[in-house]
């Protein structure tokens, strides 16, 4: 303490304190009071050793383990999520493929059905056309016949009528002459 008096002298403001020997002797700066350095250094070393052992034996390994575990869990979860995502993509592809196949199949079936129906329709149309043609010829033939028979009937009626008219007029005419005259009239 006595050795510190020159320190105290430099710090006039605190000089009064140094005079009070009863109190813990403080020079201008208590930091420069070397009498208590041993005490501080001793307790500092104790403190550091305690903190070092607490940290290196308990705290740091524990925190390192927790952090490693968390990192591992996160990595695992990310891997799992990626796997699930890949699966989902796969499922979607399969679904799309199935959908495309089904669509193609449906189109094929539709086309086939359409073709079959068209063929049937064509056949039916052809058959109908043929039937119609047959019926048409038959009808034409029938009409021809009817027309011919009608012509004959007309000739007969005309002959009869002509003969009757001639008879009514009071003259006699042979059938041949009347026929010829009527035929010429009908043609002309």
């Amino acid at each position: 303490m006595a050795t510190e008096t020159h320190e105290a002298a430099e710090h006039a403001a605190e000089a009064a304190q140094a005079a009070h020997e009863a109190a813990a002797s403080a020079p201008g700066m208590p930091q420069l009071d070397f009498t208590n350095w041993g005490n501080q250094i001793f307790w500092l070393l104790v403190t550091l050793v305690v903190i070092y052992f607490v940290l290196s034996r308990i705290a740091l390994p524990r925190i390192a383990a927790v952090l490693a575990e968390r990192q591992g869990t996160i990595t695992n979860d990310i891997a799992k999520a990626e796997e699930l995502k890949a699966k989902a993509v796969e499922a979607e592809e399969a679904y799309n493929k199935a959908l495309a196949e089904a669509r193609a199949e449906a189109q094929r079936i539709a086309a086939e059905t359409k073709a079959a129906m068209q063929a049937e329709l064509d056949a039916a149309t052809a058959k109908a056309d043929a039937d119609i043609a047959v019926k048409l010829t038959e009808s034409e033939k029938a009409i021809g016949e009817i027309r011919a028979s009608a012509l004959d009937s007309i000739k007969d009626v005309a002959n009869d009528t002509a003969a009757e008219i001639i008879a009514a007029l009071g003259s006699e005419a042979d059938a041949k002459t009347v026929d010829a005259a009527v035929a010429a009239r009908i043609k002309g």
Partner: protein, 252 residues
Amino acid sequence: MASEAHGAETGGLVFHPMDQFIVKPLFGGDTIEWYTITNVTLWMAIAVLAVIAMMVLGTSRRAMIPSRSQSVGELAYGFVYKMVEDVAGKDALKFFPYIMTLFMFIVFANFLGLIPMSFTTTSHFAVTVVLALLVFLTVTIVGFVKNGVGFLGLFWVSSAPLALRPILAVIELISYFVRPVSHSIRLAGNVMAGHAVIKVFAGFAAIAVVSPVSVVAITAMYGLEVLVAFIQAYVFTILTCVYLKDALHPSH
């Protein structure tokens, strides 16, 4: 009674900015032996308890999803771990518990020192000089053990012109031995100065007219000191990492 006498001399204003740094025995007695339980012992013990509370009790649940206290512990772990890894390199990670010890002690001593009426252990050169010397000795020993004589290459700047190298070697050597000095004084000086300034402002609060200004000034200084408390712990730690990097990889 000392303060009364002192106050009378300076006319009302009482300035004892350095009294807060006085080392006192806790259980009476005038002499301080190396084993005496002092306020230094008390506040270092509180720092130890704080470290245990944060790093051991806070993480005791080992939860996958951390609680708030566990997050803080993990944050401190990650902060220093990344610092060591980034600054000093991967091979310095075996010194991580040692650097973590320094960081946790300094940061808690600084913050505990900001509690009113507390004692700031890191404001004493006795403490910071020991911390700095521990780093200095560790770095020097590791340097020689790892690199042998090659560690002296740290002082021989091979990229400089040959004529300049001896001069640079002297400068490098001086700067190397100044490291523990600046390392320790930076920490203790910053902490001590801030606390002393707060005490000076507090002394002005005795004058009624000035006291509002004084309170505002104390508040502002306190905010600054909170910043300084962390930054100085950070600076001390990162410089330790830088020195360690020099020891492990001495080539420039």
